[in-house]
Symmetry: C2
Subunit: 112 residues, 2 copies
């Protein structure tokens, strides 16, 4: 016998963890309270610029830019330049994911 035997109840298929790398980066970028707050605002207003988020979140501009960049870098957000503003919006590819997260938060709030 060459392979180690574990509990022999069932044979579970083997998985390659690296196949979950890309999606984990997306989910990870969403796994922060400030960033979920940002996602909620963006999904409410369609697209927002950094300066609009400052009074809404009550945090300094570099902090907001860092959060936006993190979500932009993994592809969760997209960006467009209008006049002197950078407008961020949710990558349509992940709109359903974001909606599910935001919906779950509201469920959470009701049941507490």
């Amino acid at each position: 016998m060459t392979e180690i035997e574990y509990c022999t109840t069932r044979k579970i298929r083997k998985v390659d963890i690296d196949e979950y790398e890309d999606i984990s980066r997306i989910i990870n970028a969403a796994g922060n309270k400030a960033r979920i707050a940002i996602l909620e605002i963006i999904s409410e207003y369609e697209e927002v610029c950094t300066c609009e988020l400052q009074p809404a979140l009550g945090m300094p501009q570099p902090t907001i830019t860092t959060h936006l960049s993190k979500m932009y870098d993994v592809g969760l957000l997209k960006k467009k330049q209008v006049w002197r503003f950078s407008y961020y919006y949710i990558n349509p590819k992940y709109r359903e994911l974001v909606n599910t997260i935001l919906k779950d938060r509201k469920k959470e709030k009701e049941t507490s």
Copy 2:
């Protein structure tokens, strides 16, 4: 004038970031490639024990237990004791969220 004025294009509603604390813990617990792999297996087999995951993931038991605990602690997973096994399953409350994550991963895979 007492309040700082930012770009005056729109007035965005203020949000309380702490209201996103609970959901961010859930999302954060899911934001790791090993844990998403675990979620996929669990959602495929309904419920799995730690020892079944060892050969499937190819990682040592303490690492797997740590990942499972992290998801259990925030409420993403639930646990039941059967004989000498701990069976973990997805909290029904978050099944839709998990499905959306796994579905997005498959979409990802197709378009690459």
